[in-house]
Amino acid sequence: EDQVTQSPEALRLQEGESSSLNCSYTVSGLRGLFWYRQDPGKGPEFLFTLYSAGEEKEKERLKATLTKKESFLHITAPKPEDSATYLCAVRRPGTPLVFGKGTRLSVIA
């Protein structure tokens, strides 16, 4: 059974304090690992897709990396507006996305 585990469940950072969020997965034949950001009361907003181990993608203060067992979302010098829940999801051929429960990030000014 495909599984996605995100850690930590919640993370509180001071503004400018860099850190990483983890997404561990067990899935055979991975066809993509997706990162989304979700603000309270809104639907998930797409951030990145990673397809193969070693791949990296960046967007502003966010950088996503992928290995054969996990993905990291690195946040460099975060700002309060980066506060949100970050969701990780995986898929393999013929299946829907399988989501983790997310990491709630709070960035304090």
Partner: protein, 115 residues
Amino acid sequence: GAGVSQSPSNKVTEKGKDVELRCDPISGHTALYWYRQSLGQGLEFLIYFQGNSAPDKSGLPSDRFSAERTGGSVSTLTIQRTQQEDSAVYLCASSLRRGPTDTQYFGPGTRLTVL
């Protein structure tokens, strides 16, 4: 262009009543998905439509749940005889196609509360 839209944004109903939730996907997107997000839980897949193919209903939790997609565009999720455990946020997503590179874009969700 416009993103995925859902209505209503909030729905409060009494136990045993039927509810209908609506999703308007991004224009031109052939794939449409419904998910459920309960408090403290991850997004749970419910049902998926791709073009004119038969829908993938493998995630529907019971036969009280059904969905249809008319004209390859708008979709309606129907929950019959609602129960308190049906309270959740129901999210709709669409993608251009279903393939290894498809990205799902989500709507704002409908928050359903069953009293």
